[in-house]
């Protein structure tokens, strides 16, 4: 998920509105805007994914399941860092 202002960059690759995602929450449905995107890592490995942001609301930076299913990610709380994890023999 992205903050709303960051979504503007991705608006040239939006999905049609009728295909936008909707979440069921405790306070009612949450309609998202969805756009196609690439993730490019240091090794120039391109991963195709989508980015979403609430249609109404500010949004925030969150890694979703689609990204977590594509990349090995380490959330290092004490260091306040998000890292990509590689197998030791790949270094």
């Amino acid at each position: 998920m992205l903050p709303n202002e960051s979504h503007e960059f991705f608006m040239i690759g939006e999905l049609p509105r009728r295909l936008w995602k909707e979440y069921r929450t405790m306070t009612g449905p949450l309609q998202m805007k969805v756009a196609r995107a690439f993730i490019q890592t240091e090794e120039e490995h391109m991963v195709e994914t989508v980015v979403e942001t609430p249609l109404f609301g500010t949004g925030k930076l969150l890694l979703g399941r689609a990204v977590l299913n594509s990349l090995s990610v380490l959330l290092d709380g004490p260091a306040k860092a998000t890292c990509l994890v590689k197998p030791a023999d790949a270094r």
Partner: protein, 133 residues
């Protein structure tokens, strides 16, 4: 941030009085209220422009959805300026076509026909955090 002094002419008394009253009610200085009002005006104008372009692209997609499904199933289609720019076998080719658009549109639709579908998810209280207010 640099702060400048701005002198404005020909503001009617009633508008200025209302602005001062509303600023005082919200606990803002006149400068803060002016900045908030300008930001709101600028973002509203931007949204209107984007919505118009997005509306046109979505209207094109919706009125041609069946035809796109019939002709381009499994391919990426790029819609900009309320027209079909092209259909591509892979996302890189679609990305190249998108970058080649001139002038660069503010909005375009890029969808894989027959693969992209409306999804529903469940979000029952994840990512809660403490408010800093």
């Amino acid at each position: 941030m640099n702060y400048l002094t701005l002198v404005m002419k020909k503001i009617d008394q009633r508008t200025l009085r209302d602005l001062k009253a509303e600023a005082a009610r919200r606990g803002l200085t006149l400068g803060e209220a002016f900045k908030e009002a300008v930001n709101l005006w600028l973002s509203k104008r931007q949204d209107t422009l984007v919505l118009t372009e997005a509306d046109q692209n979505n209207a094109f997609y919706e009125s041609n959805e069946a035809e796109l499904e019939r002709q381009y199933k499994g391919r990426y289609v790029l819609i900009a300026g309320a027209r079909l720019v092209g259909a591509y076998d892979d996302l890189h080719a679609a990305g190249e076509a998108m970058r080649a658009l001139s002038p660069r549109p503010r909005h375009a639709i890029l969808t894989k026909i027959g693969k992209d579908a409306r999804e529903f998810g469940e979000w029952l209280g994840g990512s809660l955090e403490r408010s800093h207010q």
